[in-house]
Amino acid sequence: MNSGMWQALSPLLALSGGTVVLMLQIAFHRNPRWSVAITQLSLLLGAGLLLWLWPGSDYQSLLLRVDGYALLLNLLFILAAAVTCWLSPAYIALRSEQSGEFFLLLLLATIGAMILAQAVHVASLLLGLELLGVALYALIAYPDRSLLPLEAAVKYLVLSGAASATLLFGFALAYAGTGQLAFTGLSESLALAGSGAYTLVMAASVMIICGLAFKLSLVPFHMWTPDVYQGAPSPVTGFLATVSKGAVFAVFLRAFLETGAYQFPIILNSLAAIAVASMLVGNLLALRQDNVKRLLAYSSIAHMGYLLIVLLVCSDPANHDLAVEAALFYLVAYTVTTLAAFAVLTWPGYEQYQGPEHTELKHLSGLLWHHPLAGLLMLVAMLSLAGIPLTAGFVGKFYLFSAAVTGPHWLLLGSLVVGSGIGIYYYLRVVYYLLRRDDNHALLPNAGWHESCLAVVLLAAVLGLGIAPQSLIGWIQSIL
């Protein structure tokens, strides 16, 4: 126990302390405003500590590693949690008798995600994954006045539990084959194990990939995604789509690199197949969706497929840095954009008490004319997801393109082009609805300063990352 450790773990401790304080506050003085304030304060404190650690920290213990990679992602998760926390109070207050615990769960899920980004050991991976997962089940089911969230939560609980079990079994097999649980240890024994443990290790890899692919909703483990996205309350969906997936991808990438799994062609080939299938299936299924949340669910499947390209590129040591850089930039861009989209989808929920959320395409009709700021945010978010220049999404996609060109991985590039091409159609559909000139009565409450502030910030982030990406790129390069 030295000071280096306390420093490195201080952001995690700050958030954990926040949860304890929050619990006491809820126990003695139940007041949503206070809960929000405590949550935001501990997130702020966590972010501050992260920046204080920046960028020299490289603390390594058996379970966790706090390096630049983890710091950047942790900061991203904290900011995403702060946005979710900013969006939620008005939404949750109408849909649940009490909203204090919502923020408690939000903090816990954020801690889980942060641990995932730092994990270098199977145990910390599972710890983070379950902390994130269990908190998410409850967050999804939080609105106690409608059935859809409940259905979504049960679906997610059962399937996610099965995925975790598969993952655990995979780790057990890996342990049986190599006798190691730390990522680096696994890589050493993989090198030594030779052909004897090959079968076991391959079986283990398949199970681990299945488990993680489920959490990332990659094809063919994507079935839960649309239902859970649709059923979960919109702010939680935004959190699930960004933080949960980002964290799992972060640990996937780290495990993939540090265990040396990329040496096995069979793993690379199966990942390539999953990536291609995700890009195509996700985009094709999104074509016929009339609910924006389901549409975004399928689009997220495709986007995770795009991200898998990074894994295949980084198997070549010469391109490793470019690939990790691409992954980080893409995650940041995707997070910002997706949060923007879900922020707009959350707003109608502020005034409507029961029943399903108003997230059908027709509810967005003419949004740009009735609520210019919300409409503009949605428009920019869709363009960014479609990868139109001058948005964050385009630079992310450009990164993926240039990463894949280094191979060159023609199959992946081809699917990326085809997938993006299909994607443009359904993102444009949303844009077209935003632009419709019918006299649809306004479904949104008039945006107050609270929403307007967030909208302006998100808008600036999406466009800023697209127009002047160099500062973020420089940041990422400095920590790798």
């Binding site: 004319w369 363009l383 479609a386 139109i388 220049p389 001058l390 450009f398 393109f401 240039s402 060109v405 280094t406 060159p408 590039l413 082009v417 993006s420 091409g421 443009i424 159609y425 444009l428 559909r429 844009v431 077209y432 632009l435 000139r437 990406p469 160099q470 790129i473 420089g474 390069q477």
Partner: protein, 490 residues
């Protein structure tokens, strides 16, 4: 100066947007003023006197500043004779578009003018960008305001047309992005930073299959925009459904960006692959000319007819460029200008008719000459220009293309010359059905007012000048030697 030009257009758009809330009518004035300022900036860069026409002074203006150093991307803009010529066309058609939308647009006019200016800014960027990444950014981003113009202010089937337009151009754009990246990566010497600069990539294209594949990536993107035969199907829909100003911009300028891309990038960057590909490109050109002409003749919709005639005319551009003959290539440049003006005028005519009659269907027109002789005269003039009447710009262009082509590929030239005959058929049928014949019981319609008449007169004068004294344009097209046109001649 070049950056200022872009910023003026962007800023003017923002100002229009801001005015949309308070004084929507003022927006069109602001838009006009912005264009005047932009034109003045451009005029200050004009190549004056024969001195600047020397081969040593190819670039009239050039700026470079870093943008994304990680990938060696910079904001690199350059103006040469060809760019200048096309910028003049762009701004001129910008004025015409503003004039065409003066009274037509009633829904959010400020936003409309903003999108108009942003489209122009995107096109100006395309004509100036020398960094391939920057070029791609402008290439894609100009579509967004254009999409909005069609999707918000378009006619009855605007949704379909806007989707088709956007998806065609975006998907082909993705191929181009891929091609740009592959080119930059193969051109990179190991250990060196990546560069997307036009000058760094010149002469670096790989040969053989890979070179051909990269060239095709560019070619497809430009062919979709041109449009070449086979990938032209977005064009009739988009042109027909767009508001008048949108059609003017689409036909007048956006199509020219495709041709510009071929001249600026495909031919100089991939000389060998282009030469090998020339027979197919020529075939596409001839097919476009004949197919466009035949379909134009079969249309009942005024705008659709003009749209298909664009497919036909742009076929000449493709022929001119891939003839690999200096005369034909310069003819293609003249065709860009002449077609831009004549088609813009015809679309404006269509817009004026639609505003008065609320239809574009020529079966419901007829006999309009009696009521609106000034309109009829203008329509006749531009139809004549379109069919290639000697003395007007289009004739000069098509004659040069055919003459140049005949020296290289006589049979192709003979086939392409059929296009002149068919052009006469559909152009005259247009006049006959819309303006002559029995009066179809139309209510009294207003003839052209002073605003419309002035616009038409300016365009007519430009075409006449181009037809009678095309030398200045030819000079301009020639003063970019080291990098664009001279590099084309084998």
């Amino acid at each position: 100066m070049l950056v200022t030009l872009l910023l003026v257009l962007l800023g003017g758009g923002l100002l229009c947007l801001a005015l949309d809330r308070f004084r929507p009518e003022a927006a069109r004035l602001v838009s006009l003023l912005t264009l005047v300022v932009a034109a003045l900036i451009l005029a200050s860069l004009a190549p004056l006197g024969p001195a600047s026409a020397g081969p040593g002074n190819a670039w009239l203006a050039y700026v470079q500043m870093p943008w994304i150093p990680r990938f060696g991307i910079s904001i690199e803009l350059g103006l040469d004779g060809l760019s200048f010529l096309l910028l003049v066309l762009t701004l001129a058609l910008g004025f015409i578009a503003v004039s065409a939308s003066w009274t037509e647009i009633s829904f959010r006019p400020g936003l409309f003018q903003a999108n108009l200016l942003w489209t122009l800014a995107g096109v100006v960027g395309v004509f100036l960008a020398l960094d391939l990444f920057l070029f791609f950014v402008f290439w894609e981003i100009m579509l967004v305001p254009m999409y909005l113009l069609i999707a918000v202010w378009g006619h009855e089937a605007r949704a379909h047309a806007a989707y088709k337009f956007f998806i065609f151009t975006q998907v082909s754009g993705l191929l181009m992005l891929l091609a740009i990246l592959v080119l930059a990566w193969t051109a990179r010497t190991t250990g060196q930073a990546l560069s997307f600069s036009y000058f760094d990539l010149l002469g670096q294209a790989p040969t053989g299959q890979l070179g051909m594949a990269i060239m095709l990536g560019f070619f497809i993107a430009f062919a979709v925009k041109l449009p070449a035969f086979g990938v032209h199907t977005w064009l009739p829909d988009a042109h027909t459904q767009a508001p008048t100003a949108g059609s003017v911009l689409l036909a007048g300028i956006l199509l020219k960006t495709g041709a510009y891309g071929l001249i600026r990038f495909v031919l100089p960057l991939f000389p060998e692959s282009s030469l090998a590909f020339a027979p197919i490109a020529l075939g596409l050109g001839v097919a476009g000319i004949l197919y466009g002409a035949v379909l134009a003749f079969a249309q009942d919709d005024f705008k659709r007819l003009v749209a298909y005639s664009s497919v036909s005319h742009m076929g000449f551009v493709l022929l001119g460029l891939y003839a690999f003959n200096a005369l034909a290539q310069r003819g293609a440049v003249v065709q860009l200008v002449a077609h831009g003006i004549s088609t813009a005028a015809l679309f404006m005519m269509a817009g004026a008719l639609q505003q008065r009659l609320h239809t574009r269907d020529m079966r419901k027109m007829g006999g309009l000459w009696q009521q609106a002789p000034r309109m009829g005269a203008c329509a006749l003039f531009f139809a004549m220009a379109s069919l290639g009447l000697p003395g007007l710009g289009n004739f000069v262009a098509e004659f040069m293309v055919l003459a140049g082509l005949f020296a290289e590929h006589p049979i192709t030239a003979a086939l392409a010359a059929l296009g002149l005959v068919t052009a006469a058929i559909y152009s005259l049928s247009l006049i006959q059905r819309a303006f002559q014949g029995p009066d179809n019981d139309q209510a009294k319609i207003d003839d052209f007012g002073p605003r419309e008449l002035t616009t038409m007169a300016v365009m007519a004068a430009a075409l006449l000048w181009l037809g009678l004294y095309p030398q200045p344009v030819l000079d301009l097209a020639r003063i970019a030697p080291p990098l664009s046109l001279s590099g084309l001649s084998p």
